[in-house]
């Protein structure tokens, strides 16, 4: 079993995503909000990582979630607060979307897993003994 057999083509090439749930205005509003949660810094922000599309897709697969989210979005005063149910819902979806995106996972967090290694060294730090 060689490494070559484990080189799979990157199928993440951006396909044009057609919004399933949000209107154009809602997409814009959600993009603004998710960027307030995870803004662009020296690494991409949430909307750079297509989090609004991630949320749209998720809502399209779950009617109850969709209803809850859209009702929350309509009533939302635009100020994110810890303890506010809609802020919590939006933050959860943003975390799920951003930190599983290529931008969030590799550029921001530095994840470089799910690959082919011939050995696993584990912790090599003497001070962790």
């Amino acid at each position: 079993m060689g490494a070559a057999q484990h080189e799979h083509p990157d199928t993440s090439a951006p396909v044009t995503y057609t919004t399933k749930v949000f209107s154009a205005d809602e997409m814009k509003r959600v993009a603004t909000l998710v960027d307030l949660i995870i803004p662009r810094t020296d690494t991409p922000g949430a909307s750079d990582a297509h989090v609004p599309e991630f949320i749209d897709r998720k809502l399209s697969l779950d009617a109850a979630l969709k209803e809850r989210f859209l009702a929350g979005l309509r009533a939302f005063d635009g100020v994110l607060k810890d303890g506010d149910p809609f802020s919590k819902l939006l933050k959860g979806l943003t975390v799920d979307g951003y930190y599983t995106s290529k931008e969030g996972l590799t550029q921001e967090l530095g994840w470089h897993g799910n690959t082919f290694l011939t050995e696993f060294k584990g912790c090599t730090h003497a001070d962790h003994e």
């Binding site: 199928t11 949660i37 930190y99 995106s101 897993g113 011939t118 584990g122």
Partner: protein, 542 residues
């Protein structure tokens, strides 16, 4: 004239695969009925990155559908008393996606009921099963350390242990400082090539099925070699409904439905081995009603369906100060934890509850997501920075505790609720009691003490919260073995007391659940049971 099969095995998971493999290699002809089909390793999504997943789905591709949809096969639970039942119908069953934790039971487990007097004793002891654990370790490949404790017997046949990650090393050190032993994980993952199977390539995505077969799965390790003997025939999409009997109440075949066409068929057999996984096996037995067995086959004791024992479990998370802000490492390893906390509460002061708990640690270190971030406060740059700093520092504790066998925790079948073939579905009634709640308190204390000793920043938790029943996916006990024929359904060789030509070799056969993951013990018990069966067949006794 329909031919009569020597042995029919129902189910292709750990227990059915072992039964088929061990009998065929001893010259016995076996027909194995699988409720699904073979999962093709070439089509596993083992190396699909998280962000590639949706793009593939958009193109109309699908990952392998391991898990049985309850829309196809429902089951009942009482209102407000959920039980999450996870089933994989298809070659290898749950071993395609199992957690690979491979722990030996000890006499702390086997002799536990005698010691505390709760329910019936196991009919076997560690010495009875030890030779089979030795064989299973060598056959499937289990990596681990050289540790050996009264609650977790060692094995001379371990493959090299997976090196601990930074967080795991620090937890071991923290455990040591408070007298809690945290040992090398014992996992059925090949850290070296073994018996023609390749070594692990440390991609960490075992839960999506291993694309090279570097951890034990029943399909590649047992069923394929068994087919090469020419003695095994496998029938796909055969959903068994009942074990059939003759006028004397002896099994003489099975009734099954074709999962594709829905057609009903019967097959004749001299011996039937039930290995459909605890709940589905129990459903088959209870639905196998006849004049001789009005209460379900082999159930004159009325224990079949009762004493369902799963395990209690919860999760606690923390961030280790030495690792906050550290560079991100590839922490995939063999997928899941490289360490394990064996049971220790049988030592020292007598507890206010019976039985015990251990702990697993999967999800420590850099993961392919950052779900923990939901528990961190704030928004914006500060939040983003806080997540990044904690990402390499995450450690996770998952204590598992034994649930006592109780008659009222049971599986029944209801003639009024039938599946698409007209066969009654299983109804699962299951509750934990005061004993488990007391144990959970010490489980919470222990997890918290380990994290405190590690000086971890502990993620806020709700003390006493437990996962939904069934979440550990460790169902046991509904067709238990025992010496007393009035209080058990099977003898120590998984043979029915009432019907000597029926064997039940999966988790249903366990007398108690223990705190441990059952698969290694299922394999050892099924190997032992089918050695006994092969000898009985040779002697002409069954």
């Amino acid at each position: 004239m329909q031919t009569t099969n020597d042995v029919i095995v129902i189910g292709s998971g750990a227990s059915g695969g072992m039964a088929a493999w061990n009998l065929t290699r001893q010259g016995v002809d076996v027909l194995l009925l699988d409720a699904g089909t073979r999962f093709s390793r070439a089509k596993f999504w083992t190396h699909v990155k998280p962000w590639e997943w949706n793009a593939r789905v958009d193109k109309g591709e699908r990952p392998p559908q391991f898990y049985l949809d309850t829309k196809e096969q429902p089951y009942d639970t009482p209102r407000g008393q959920p039980f999450d039942l996870v089933r994989v119908w298809g070659r290898g069953g749950k071993t395609n996606v199992w957690g690979r934790v491979a722990l030996r039971y000890s006499d702390v487990d086997f002799a536990g009921p005698e010691k505390d007097g709760w329910e019936i004793p196991w009919p076997i002891r560690y010495r009875d099963i030890k030779p089979y654990y030795d064989r299973v370790d060598q056959f499937i490949g289990v990596c681990g350390g050289t540790d050996d404790q009264d609650s977790l017997p060692g094995s001379p046949y371990m493959l090299p242990a997976a090196a601990p990650r930074c967080g795991e090393k620090l937890l071991q050190k923290a455990g040591k400082s408070i007298g809690v032993s945290i040992v090398a994980g014992r996992r059925a993952v090949l850290t070296k090539p073994l018996n023609g199977h390749p070594a692990c390539h440390y991609c960490g995505a075992c839960g999506r099925g291993c694309d090279v077969g570097a951890f034990f799965n029943s399909s590649d390790y047992l069923i394929e070699p068994a087919m090469q003997t020419g003695k095994l025939r496998v029938m796909d999409n055969a959903v068994v409904a009942r074990v059939l009997v003759n006028d004397e109440g002896k099994a003489n075949g099975v009734q099954y439905f074709d999962r594709v066409t829905g057609e009903e068929h019967t097959l004749k057999a001299r011996i039937v081995i039930v290995a459909a996984s605890c709940i589905d096996s129990t459903r088959i037995l209870l639905n196998s009603k006849s004049h001789a067995h009005p209460n379900g086959i082999g159930n004159s004791s009325d224990v079949v369906g009762r004493y369902l024992s799963e395990q209690i479990r919860f999760h606690m998370y923390g961030f280790l100060p030495q690792l906050i802000g550290a560079p991100t490492q590839n922490d995939d390893g063999i997928g899941g934890e490289h360490i394990y906390m064996p049971r220790f509460n049988h030592r020292g002061a007598k507890r206010e509850y019976l039985r015990g708990f251990g702990a697993q640690f999967w999800g420590s270190g850099a993961q392919a997501d950052a779900g923990f971030a939901k528990a961190l406060p704030g928004f914006g740059v500060d939040f983003k920075t806080a997540v990044k700093k904690r990402y390499p520092a995450l450690v996770a504790l998952h204590p598992y505790g034994e649930v006592l066998p109780r008659a009222e925790n049971r599986v029944t079948v209801d003639e009024k609720h039938v599946d698409r073939y007209g066969v009654p579905v299983a109804r699962i009634e299951y509750k934990i009691g005061e004993n488990e709640r007391k144990m959970a308190a010490e489980m919470y204390d222990t997890a918290e003490q380990i994290l405190r000793a590690a000086k971890a920043e502990i993620v806020p938790f709700e003390r006493g919260h437990l996962d939904v029943a069934g979440s550990a996916i460790h169902e046991h006990g509904t067709c238990r073995m025992g010496a007393d024929q009035k209080r058990s359904a099977l003898n120590g060789f998984c043979q029915m007391h009432d019907v000597p030509n029926v064997f039940v070799v999966d988790g249903a056969a366990f007398t108690t659940a223990s705190e441990k993951n059952p698969t290694l013990t299922i394999l050892a018990l099924a190997w032992r049971a089918t050695d006994y069966l092969a000898a009985e067949m040779k002697a002409g006794r069954v």
